[in-house]
């Protein structure tokens, strides 16, 4: 009991240190408890939500009207899959909508009727209008929860699709729980009325989805090969094969990432707490040496005295752990909200208190063990040694940095001399600062990367993200069109390419989306990670992920397959890019035409000058080159006289023929009374205009913003933890060196001199740790970005240097001010004690 009182006495005596350790243990248990309790929940939330939706767990989606019934039969016969459900959907790639603020945003949308959706899942309605309200809606739409949670829509709001220069407003009947189609990476699935489906089917491409339940993943390349063999058609670029596990990965990857970062932060605080405890016990024992001697002299065993120190940290660590555990439990609603926002799925259930308690217990055990190990040093001091303040305080060793050879500032010299005395403390401080610096460098780098929202991610796509991507009708000369466009004052640059053809790679399960350009030097967003751009028709670049997974390197040969042809290419470069499953391949136009000789470029990519109004420019394009066929198809028949109305109807008909049936050329002659109205399809040039930037906004915007916020919080958190650590170290150093500092004051050293010395003392450990951390962080960041995004992030050396310097300055400033308790040291008190 007396020992316990001694613990309480020590706690009362050093309240700030006790509070700091409580804070660190609190943060550790809070973070680790939150991570432990929620990392399992993230997985469960997705699975539960998927299951509750009643969704099939796998599907094959055929785009570009490439579906044939034989493909369904292959699934059933060759793979033994039962109950394959065929569903018609309207697919709009990069459809433009207006967000809640009225700004344009691009989505990949799948539109289907309620009846179709019920073939794939239960169609579980969540937040919605009352039935009688829904009945009154002219254009009801059911949106997946993404639009409610991330989009901010409410039932009754208007959801507006933009196409052909027209707004298509839908009234939101409500939101529904869906297994897939709730994320922007592939497509969002919206449910519309049969009337609207019929209407929009004249505008958007009608495709087919096959849904089924299977415990094994479909071997996609094999299946596609079978389909192509069956139909003699190239379908590889028009098929998406996905299953529940892949959707889960897409929806949970960022949440898992945040959890791992939080877990890392909690490790920092745990290491810091353990270091502080060891440091403080050592200082306390040295400080209370004579008191220890007295206790031993009157019969206390060293083990009992050690227990007083251990009790102290069981009390502080235990208090922090209990508070952290309670906070982790109370934080559950916030975490549920965070998970809901990140996954766009409703979160049910409570926190796993058992896991939180286990984390808290482990924390207390770790603290107790380390306290025990350090407190054993009491054994080294029998009473006589303790009375003499222990041999530890005596010095017999080498005199490092003798003052007789001082050059320059005496404060720096004395600080460095003291630095040699505190090797153990320096190592501990260095480890804490190194861990914190690695996290800081990672967080700052990531934060700055995402500071500009999703623009940072765009730079990592490894493909051109232009303002407008114009897909031309068959037969239109892309080069001629590009030349004309490049002369427009609004246009900064044009690139001629293809509509993202997909080519197979021999010996690989991963086909590659081809990025094809005449001259890659003209591209903006395809940086070479290694090697050089392809120049000749037998040269190719591949993605970094393909290079890593499939073992290709610059100089190797790779065989590309297309239209039954195989051609060998020399790899000239590696590109770091996260788009198209990270499996892009990069070819010159001539190189691409080696495997697909009949195909001509059909896409012109436009970069507009700064400040150009994109809407106005697209209207100008329509006035110059005719509206896109996709817009004409849904156009209205307007005009004041009969001839104008007939021509408008003719244009719509031609557009439909071109868009739906692959017709390349149409002439017409219509006799009205005595008048002959003639026309041809040559006036139409543009098949479709899309904005990849708008699509990127919906796909990457939320991730960019949340990552920025999270890393910003991490930076602040690290700063607080480092400040606490250094504050305690500086404070306890002042206490330990009280007499020494007092004597120096009597000699004329000012408080500022002494604070400077104390701050300078930690500088060698800080600088070395920060440099080591910088090197380690390069590897960690490279690994992180590669495994998460498949890219090699360009390390921003100036940012790293500035961060390192800032860390060193921050450590200096914090320690300097934390040492300000030196001001309270009175020489007079020192001499009268």
């Amino acid at each position: 009991m007396k020992i316990f009182r001694l613990s309480l006495f020590n706690l009362r005596k050093n309240k700030k240190e006790a509070l700091a350790i409580i804070f660190l243990t609190f943060v550790t248990v809070f973070l680790l408890g939150t991570v432990a309790a929620n990392i399992a929940k993230i997985s469960t939330v997705f699975d539960d939500s998927f299951e509750a939706s009643g969704s099939v767990n796998s599907f094959v989606f055929f785009r570009d009207r490439k579906y044939r019934d034989e493909y369904k039969e292959i699934l059933e016969k060759d793979y033994g899959i039962e109950d394959v459900r065929k569903v018609d959907v309207l697919f709009a790639i990069s459809a433009t909508a207006r967000d809640k603020n009225g700004e344009k945003i691009g989505y990949n949308l799948m539109m289907l009727t309620e009846e179709s959706d019920r073939k794939l899942e239960y169609f579980v309605k969540e937040n919605c209008l009352r039935d009688e309200e829904i009945k009154d809606l002219k254009h009801p739409v059911w949106l997946p929860q993404y639009f409610e949670i991330t989009g901010g829509y409410k039932p009754g709001d208007t959801f507006t699709l933009l196409t052909g220069g027209r707004d298509y407003p839908f009234e939101i009947a409500g939101f529904y729980q869906t297994g897939f189609g709730n994320e922007t990476g592939m497509a969002l699935k919206i449910v519309i009325s049969e009337e609207d489906y019929a209407l929009l089917s004249s505008i958007f491409e009608e495709d087919v989805m096959l849904g089924y339940n299977s415990d094994v993943s479909l071997p996609s390349d094999e299946y596609i090969e079978k389909c192509e063999k069956e139909s003699s058609e190239n379908v590889s670029s028009s098929v998406w094969i996905m299953d529940q596990a892949e959707f889960k990965l897409m929806e949970t990857v960022y949440l898992d990432l945040f959890m791992y970062i939080s877990g890392s932060l909690s490790i920092i605080t745990l290491v810091a707490a353990v270091f502080l405890i060891r440091h403080k016990i050592k200082n306390d024992i040295e400080d209370q040496m004579q008191q220890i001697g007295v206790l031993e002299a009157i019969g206390y065993r060293s083990g009992e005295i050690s227990m007083s120190y251990i009790f102290e940290y069981v009390i502080t660590g235990g208090s922090g752990a209990v508070l952290g555990g309670v906070a982790a439990v109370l934080f559950t609603p916030v975490m549920n909200k965070f998970i809901r926002i990140m996954m766009n799925r409703n979160v049910h259930g409570t926190v796993n208190i058992g896991l939180v308690i286990i984390v808290a217990i482990i924390q207390v055990i770790v603290i107790t063990v380390f306290a025990l190990l350090q407190a054993r040093m009491v054994k080294k001091y029998p009473p006589v040694v303790a009375f003499r303040k222990g041999i530890k305080t005596h010095h017999f060793g080498k005199n490092f940095l003798p003052l007789r050879s001082t050059k320059g500032n005496i404060n720096l010299r004395l600080a460095m001399k003291n630095n040699f005395r505190n090797a153990a403390q320096n190592i501990g401080t260095g480890v804490c600062i190194a861990i914190a610096s690695v996290s800081l460098l990672f967080s700052v780098h990531t934060m700055i990367f995402f500071m500009d929202g999703y623009n940072g991610l765009i730079a990592l796509t490894g493909m051109e993200i232009c303002d407008d991507s114009i897909t031309l009708l068959d037969g239109v000369d892309a080069y001629g069109f590009s030349d004309e466009l490049s002369k427009l004052p609004e246009v900064k640059k044009t690139l001629v390419t293809f509509d993202f053809p997909v080519l197979a790679v021999k010996g690989s399960d991963n086909s590659g989306t081809a990025q094809v350009y005449d001259d890659f030097n003209e591209t903006t967003n395809i940086p070479v990670y290694k090697g050089r751009y392809p120049v000749h028709d037998n040269e190719i670049m591949i993605s970094l992920v393909r290079s890593t997974l499939e073992g290709y390197d610059v100089g190797d040969n790779i065989i590309i397959e297309g239209n039954g042809t195989q051609k060998s290419y020399v790899i000239t470069g590696i590109v770091s890019g996260m788009s198209n499953s990270r499996m892009n391949i990069y070819l010159t136009t001539e190189g691409y035409q080696r495997v697909v000789p009949m195909r001509e470029p059909d896409v012109v990519q436009l970069y507009l000058n700064d400040g150009v109004d994109q809407d106005a420019f697209e209207k100008k394009l329509a006035s110059l080159y005719g509206a896109p066929v996709s817009d004409i198809e849904e156009g209205e028949i307007t005009g004041s006289d009969l001839e104008e109305r007939i021509r408008a109807q003719a244009d719509i008909t031609i557009a439909k023929l071109i868009a739906r049936y692959g017709v390349t050329d149409v002439d017409y002659a219509i006799k009205v009374g005595d008048q002959m109205i003639t026309g041809r399809s040559g006036g139409l040039t543009i098949k479709n205009i899309s904005s990849t930037k708008d699509l990127a906004k919906s796909q990457m915007g939320a991730i960019g913003n949340s990552t920025f916020s999270f890393t910003l919080m991490s930076v602040i958190f690290i700063a607080v933890v480092v400040a606490v650590i250094l504050g305690i170290i500086a404070g306890s150093n002042v206490r330990r060196q009280r007499k020494e500092l007092g004597v120096m004051k009597s000699m004329g050293y000012s408080s500022k001199d002494l604070m400077t010395q104390i701050a300078l003392q930690i500088m060698p450990a800080t600088v070395i740790s920060v440099v080591i951390a910088a090197v380690i962080s390069v590897f960690i960041q490279k690994a992180f970005w590669f495994y998460l995004f498949g890219v090699a992030i360009p390390l921003d050396i100036p940012v790293m240097i500035v961060t390192c310097i800032s860390m060193v300055i921050f450590c200096y400033v914090v320690t300097y001010f934390a040492a300000s308790r030196v001001k309270k040291i009175s020489v007079k008190e020192l001499m009268t004690e």
Binding site: T393, H394, H395, F396, N399, P402, L403, R404, S405, T406, K407, I410, R413, L414, K417, N418, R421, K739, E740, G742, V743, M744, K745, S746, M747, G748, Y749, S750, S751, K752, D753, K823, S826, V827, K828, L830, M831, T832
Partner: protein, 252 residues
């Protein structure tokens, strides 16, 4: 002799459990250059408090302290520290050598805050150490390897290395045996003979005998003053009995 230190209505009080204790009360005092002033008095009379106030280690509650013509009572703590650098040297009862510094480094620590390092400075430190009996073989020893007397001699060298205008000493022989104490006092006497002004607090008669001016403090004020010739001049028995008589009169 010129006046080097002067107080006007110096007061120093402490709050103890809400009760004000007035330790120094309206004290007027002049310390003259070249004097070896000894402050004596009973325990609790305010000797040490006066010493700290005079040396700028503590601030007065009221009143003024002039060091030469400069008033130091209003200086901030850091300004006082800078002031002490060139003007004051301190010899403590408990010595307070820096345990992690060698003998030579202890001396230089006090010097290098005032002046830049130079071969002359190091030579002077070594010379002073030699003069007080700390030979070359001890310069690289640590304080824990010294005897009490040796440590105090190093403390004195550290105090005078910057040629301070006043050397303050607080019971410098209080923790030494008589032989070591005598050595220390001999050194201080020698320093005084070389013109060093000294203000020393002691309650020991033998130590006080080294002074030239004895001030007796009671209840926070100087109640008696006794002057003596420099130590070593005149008859020692008479010096001793004279001081004893003075102290007896003071009720010591």
């Amino acid at each position: 002799m010129d006046q080097i230190l002067k107080t006007e209505k110096l007061c120093k009080s402490f709050s103890n459990g809400g009760v004000q204790q007035h330790v120094i009360k309206n004290l007027d005092l002049e310390i003259m250059e070249g004097d070896f002033t000894v402050i004596m008095g009973a325990s609790g009379s305010g000797k040490s408090t006066l010493l700290y106030a005079l040396s700028g280690m503590d601030k007065p509650s009221m009143g003024k302290i002039f060091f030469g013509n400069k008033e130091i009572g209003d200086l901030t703590n850091d300004q006082l520290a800078v002031f002490r650098r060139g003007n004051c040297g301190f010899v403590f009862q408990s010595v307070y050598l820096l345990e992690n510094q060698t003998v030579l480094d202890n001396v230089l620590t006090g010097a290098l805050i005032v002046q830049k390092n130079s071969p002359e400075l190091v030579a002077r430190a070594q010379d002073l150490l030699t003069k007080v009996g700390i030979g070359k073989d001890m310069w690289n020893k640590y304080p824990n390897q010294l005897s009490g007397g040796e440590a105090q001699r190093v403390g004195i060298v550290r105090a005078v290395i910057n040629d301070p205008k006043i050397l303050f000493a607080d019971e410098p022989t209080g923790q030494l045996n008589s032989s070591a104490g005598k050595d220390v006092l001999d050194i201080m006497t020698e320093i005084h003979k070389n013109g060093q002004s000294i203000v020393m607090v002691t309650h020991d008669l033998k130590t006080a005998l080294r002074g030239t001016r004895i001030l007796f403090l009671r209840d926070g004020n100087i109640v008696g003053e006794y002057r003596m010739a420099p130590y070593g001049t005149g008859d020692m028995k008479e010096r001793r009995s004279g001081l004893q008589r003075f102290l007896d009169e003071m009720g010591w």
